[in-house]
């Protein structure tokens, strides 16, 4: 046994050394999330390599929260592990302001910066400089079962109000047969239930902070928002909703248990795809409003950014250009069809008659255009962001308030207590962070 141990150890050391010794070309490391469009991009790398044989790309694919945290650690400690980052409209304003990102003002002409959708570009620009190139854009909208609506004798307007939604949900609910009128996010998390509730609150005239950064959970609009949400979910929502995020609701809808689902526009391709049992019975509508001037849809874009500490900025820019200029869309279309082109980034895509044939293209575009991150709420606010507040403290604050609202949905606390807790938590954190003097 001892000889085996020794041999094993020797082999291990030898292999380790060998592994470390391999030489590197111009390698760039790209950190990305595991979403369908990114996966597709990894499959199309042959095209990139044929155009740029001197650059090799190493992919690091991780779950969103882990990725965000890893990348933040690396950037803040100047670890230099990444050359291209996939980050979102939440991080870009914060990191751009810190000077952590390379500005993309000098991209080549074929990049066509003016072609970017204004709402998206606005979310990625700080002080007039573009700090990330959008790769995928989404908003949120209503997906509903056309057959269930028909059975209930109702018609869904293209731009419904929350009252319409409530009526439709009540009519479609059939708990005995496990059909729930509406499935909404309830899992605690700043990117989970709080993203949805924040966007929803915009349509009720609510806001997170006033001009002095004082939290607004003690105001009527927020009470209305939470009250309406809880009523709706208790009457027409599925059991266990307090732990449901996007994927859980997707599973429910695909299995036929939901009458409506209000969530990211990307869901449209899933619920009408091959894994869905109700693929041919889905209709779409804009996210609801209350007639106050803001709808309840959100805005998010996954974008490629280059950290300022990267040693390979030129190669990184070349990659970012390839991945996000209009030619890439044409490439995807030629290989996998127009329905699979990453949505929500460029005006030219939506002007393309081929793309207009894709079933939910227009609805997605309308949703994106109706969300303005620089003016997300009815009243003026000191922050940007539609379903989030682009300050670093938000992810922690909103996760904690998300926990409270999820508890209200689970029934372990009342709406009033949840709002009070949210107010306390947010006030404490904002004071600690120095926003509230």
């Amino acid at each position: 046994m001892n000889i085996t141990l020794r041999a094993l150890l020797g082999a291990t050391v030898a292999l380790t050394l060998a592994g470390m010794a391999h030489a590197e070309t111009t390698e760039i490391t790209v950190a990305t999330v595991n979403n369908g469009d990114m996966i597709r991009m990894q499959g199309l790398m042959d095209d990139f390599y044929s155009k740029h044989p001197d650059i090799h790309v190493n992919w690091v694919t991780l779950e969103e929260n882990v990725l965000r945290q890893k990348v933040t650690t690396d950037i803040a400690t100047k670890g230099g592990q990444f050359d291209v980052l996939t980050i979102g409209t939440y991080e870009v304003p914060i990191w751009g302001k810190q000077g952590w990102l390379v500005s993309l003002d000098d991209m080549p002409a074929d990049y066509m910066k003016d072609d970017l959708l204004p709402a998206i570009a606005g979310g990625l620009t700080v002080d007039g400089h573009l700090y990330a190139s959008p790769f995928y854009g989404e908003s949120s909208m209503v997906m509903y079962r056309t057959d269930l609506m028909e059975k209930a004798g109702l018609k869904m307007p293209d731009a419904p109000t929350w009252a319409d939604i409530r009526k439709a949900a009540d009519a479609m609910t059939d708990k005995a047969n496990e059909i729930y009128g509406v499935c909404l996010r309830g899992k605690a998390g700043w990117g989970e239930n709080m993203a949805f509730l924040t966007a929803m609150s915009n349509s009720f005239g609510a806001k997170w902070f006033d001009a002095d950064w004082k939290p607004q959970f003690d105001t009527k609009p927020w009470a209305d928002t939470l009250g309406f949400y809880l009523d709706l979910m208790n009457a027409d929502g599925p059991p266990g909703a307090s732990n449901n995020g996007f994927n859980e609701n997707l599973a429910l809808f695909q299995q036929g248990h939901c009458g409506m689902w209000i969530d990211a526009t990307v869901a449209a391709s899933f619920v009408t795809g091959k894994d869905s049992t109700v693929a041919d019975k889905v209709g779409f509508a804009l996210a609801p409003d209350n007639g106050l001037g803001k709808r309840s849809n959100w805005l998010w874009a996954w974008s490629l950014a280059i950290p300022a500490g990267s040693a390979k900025i030129e190669a990184a820019k070349t990659f970012v250009d390839w991945a996000t200029n209009p030619d890439y869309a044409a490439l995807v279309a030629s290989k996998e069809g127009w329905a699979n082109v990453p949505p929500g980034t460029r005006t030219s895509l939506y002007a393309n008659p081929e793309y207009q044939k894709v079933p939910f293209a227009k609805m997605t575009l309308d949703s994106i255009n109706s969300a303005d991150p620089t003016h997300p709420t009815v009243d003026a606010v000191p922050y940007v962001g539609v379903q989030f507040v682009a300050i670093p403290e938000f992810s922690s604050i909103a996760t904690q308030t998300g926990q409270q609202f999820s508890a209200a949905l689970a029934g372990t606390t009342t709406a009033a207590d949840a709002l009070k807790a949210a107010q306390d938590i947010t006030t404490t954190e904002m004071t600690k962070a120095g926003y509230i003097k």
């Binding site: 001892n2 499959g43 991780l62 779950e63 599973a251 894994d275």
Partner: protein, 276 residues
């Protein structure tokens, strides 16, 4: 345990053991079954899923998307390397503490265990900075070093436990026969402690294999083990259970094999009748 066992007793025990075993194994069995279906079918109710078409599509996708071979190699180096290193350092220490205990031995053991009390998230930044300065980020060396240090207290504790079972008389007898310390450990102690060493090795390899914090934080692509391979299938928006199951099955398979060989060591019992 009684030598003679009637056949009825054996049948009853067999039934009981298999029932318990299958119940415990069931979630894993389900994961493996899910991996052979499409995403849409994988989430269906039990009977529906089993009767829907079986496919290797999830495995195919996992294979094309990620570099299983590289991740597997990294996992093996990290897990095996760190466990073997920890054993090499740990066996002498555990011997000393088990057979030559001093007044401070128990305190020393507790102190070793206490090195594991700090939540890893709390030391993330100091570690990351340290690794950056030593150019150990994304390197197998760095990771093996960290995992060895993490495993060392557990290895020593477990070995200590098993060594305490071995009567000192046998070792003394060997010494009186002229064996020096080194051969005492290698030729007398180790064979007798084989079941203990085997289970220590198995458990620590698994702990290292599944360690998700440091293996994700300190690596990007070169040294990324299977934990990153699996983590990359967690999708924020889009069902991934079938693919995750496939990735998981591919990650567990090697350990199942190792587990099979290790548990064989547990069949051999120590016969202390030899002491007399």
């Amino acid at each position: 345990m009684a030598r003679k066992s009637s056949t009825t007793a054996k049948v009853v025990v067999t039934l009981a053991a298999w029932t318990v075993g299958l119940l415990i194994f069931f979630p894993i069995l389900w994961t493996i079954l899910m991996s052979f279906h499409t995403e849409g079918d994988a989430i269906k109710q039990p009977w529906d899923m089993l009767t829907s078409p079986w496919t290797l599509e999830s495995y195919a996708e996992v294979q094309t998307r990620s570099n299983y071979a590289l991740h597997f190699y990294n996992s093996v180096v990290i897990s095996l390397g760190s466990t073997v290193l920890a054993l090499i350092i740990g066996i002498p220490s555990a011997w000393a503490m088990a057979f030559v205990p001093g007044p401070k031995t128990k305190d020393l053991l507790m102190w070793m265990l206490s090195t594991k009390m700090m939540p890893a998230v709390g030391v993330l930044i100091p570690m990351y900075l340290g690794f950056r300065n030593l150019h150990l980020l994304d390197s197998l060396t760095g990771l093996v070093a960290v995992m060895t240090l993490i495993s060392l207290p557990i290895v020593i504790w477990m070995l200590y436990t098993y060594f305490k079972e071995i009567p000192g008389e046998i070792l003394e007898a060997a010494r009186m026969d002229g064996a020096n310390l080194r051969s005492e450990i290698i030729y007398v102690l180790t064979p007798m402690a084989l079941p203990g060493i085997a289970s220590t090795m198995l458990l620590n390899v698994i702990l290292a294999w599944n360690e998700t914090f440091w293996t994700l934080q300190l690596t990007t692509h070169n040294a990324a083990p299977l934990t990153q391979f699996i983590a990359s299938y967690s999708s924020p928006e889009g069902l991934f259970y079938a693919k995750l199951s496939a990735a998981s099955t591919m990650a567990i398979a090697p350990i199942l094999i190792m587990g099979w060989f290790s548990q064989k060591q547990l069949v051999r019992g120590l016969t202390f009748g030899a002491v007399k």
